[in-house]
């Protein structure tokens, strides 16, 4: 037998052969019965040196395993699949992560809103009052928004009396920012619904002047009088 080949086999047995040479030798080893027998005897030598008492050295177990596996179907994992497994990422993992993030965002918003609206649909917190006051003071917003102000009950513009339960103050603008910041991880349809729902339920709290100039259709439709 080729001495160089045997030298490679010995080094491969010790995991000391370069990977490129291992590929070629592994192919030959799996097919060459003589080489495989020599490989098996190398293992026997190691077992004897380590004085592995009680361990049978006749190599019959390898034969039994081989016989047991002869009825098993051969594996068919192609190299590309193996490397994908090695990367540890599956196609569904990014989607699952995005879905989880969107779910957390929705739950957080619902919880925050429930904290901000303890008594019902009226938003009555100081921050909102200040925002509305500033909006009303703006010359550009006098028309439609003043119309809207006439239809809103005065209770919604005053600070309510101190309640037993401490109330969390969540400025609507921050809430909107939160939704926008997390919208990258949410499904576009649900993101749109969430944002539009937020804007409709919080009229006049938009942070951008252009939006604040747009009348809320529902409120405008109910306008009965103009202060001017």
């Amino acid at each position: 037998m080729n001495e160089e080949l045997d030298s490679q086999l010995s080094a491969m047995f010790d995991n000391e052969l370069p990977a490129a040479e291992c590929e070629l030798l592994a192919r030959r080893l799996s097919r060459d019965a003589d080489l495989k027998a020599r490989w098996g005897r190398y293992a026997v030598v190691g077992a004897v040196i380590r004085a592995e008492r009680g361990v049978a050295l006749d190599g019959t177990m390898a034969g039994r395993v081989s016989a047991a596996l002869s009825t098993e179907p051969a594996l068919s994992l192609d190299p590309a699949q193996a490397s994908r497994r090695g990367s540890g990422l599956s196609w569904w993992q990014p989607l699952a992560g995005a879905g989880l993030a969107a779910g957390v965002a929705v739950v957080s918003i619902l919880w925050l809103r429930s904290q901000a609206l303890p008594g019902g649909s009226h938003v009555a917190v100081p921050v909102l009052v200040a925002t509305r006051t500033a909006t009303f003071a703006s010359p550009s917003a006098q028309g439609p928004l003043q119309t809207a102000s006439a239809t809103i009950t005065p209770d919604s513009f005053v600070v309510p009396p101190v309640q037993q339960r401490p109330m969390m103050v969540v400025p609507a603008t921050e809430l909107a920012d939160y939704v926008v910041a997390h919208s990258a991880f949410s499904w576009p349809v649900s993101r749109g619904n969430l944002l539009s729902s937020l804007m409709v339920s919080e009229p006049g709290t938009s942070s951008t002047p252009a939006e604040s100039e747009q009348p809320v259709p529902r409120v405008q439709g109910n306008a009965t009088q103009n202060p001017k």
Partner: protein, 204 residues
């Protein structure tokens, strides 16, 4: 050089459907695995059965092996779990040795633990003893530098680089010494295997 390149190259071949490569892995690790399992069970025949089952489980699980850890580490974990399960299972259903053999032909537990392994037969024991004495005699006959190299490798588990540092020689020399030591031992061992007692089974 990857420390596990050799095993990994064989594993990848098995994953692509080359069963012959798995034979090489079994041949390489069968003794170590049996020795490991014997920490959990004292009976060598039972240890062999558990090791064999561990190899079969490993083969079936190979599609899930990603190579994040060394193959032998992964294989040892399977063997340990198999051994622990076997011990639990045995404790739950102790073997009755005074059974009528004819009434237990289909009893798997009897078949697994009651039968005598080939290695436990007088012929198997003689062969194991002869292998052991032949290898030991061959090692004793080795030149000092070859014997030191092979013992440091097999007994101490040192890498070629560590052996080179210990022996004060290049890594290439270590590789050559270990190879020549193995060849010298193998020449005598082959006579045992190929003689009247040799019963190595054809694999692949």
């Amino acid at each position: 050089m990857s420390a596990d390149a050799s095993d990994l190259s064989l594993v990848r071949r098995v994953q692509r459907g080359d069963k012959g490569a798995f034979d090489a892995l079994v041949l390489k690790y069968q003794h170590k695995l049996v020795k490991l399992v014997m920490r959990y069970v004292r009976n060598p025949a039972e240890a062999e059965d558990i090791a064999q089952e561990a190899f079969i489980k490993a083969y079936r699980a190979l599609p899930q092996f990603r190579g994040d850890s060394a193959f032998y580490t992964w294989l040892y974990r399977i063997a340990i779990n198999t051994a622990k399960n076997a011990v639990v299972s045995r404790d739950r259903s102790p073997i009755e040795y005074n059974v009528d053999r004819s009434s237990t032909d289909n009893d798997e537990s009897y078949d697994m633990q009651g039968r005598m392994k080939d290695s436990e037969t007088p012929e198997g024991l003689v062969l194991t003893d002869e292998i052991r004495s032949t290898v030991n005699a061959a090692i004793d006959a080795l030149p000092e530098d070859l014997r030191t190299a092979i013992v440091l490798r097999e007994l101490e588990g040192l890498s070629y680089e560590e052996i080179a540092a210990a022996m004060g020689c290049p890594v290439g020399t270590v590789r050559s010494r270990i190879f020549r030591a193995r060849e010298a031992i193998d020449r005598r061992l082959r006579e045992v295997f190929e003689g009247g007692l040799g019963r190595t089974e054809e694999l692949g």
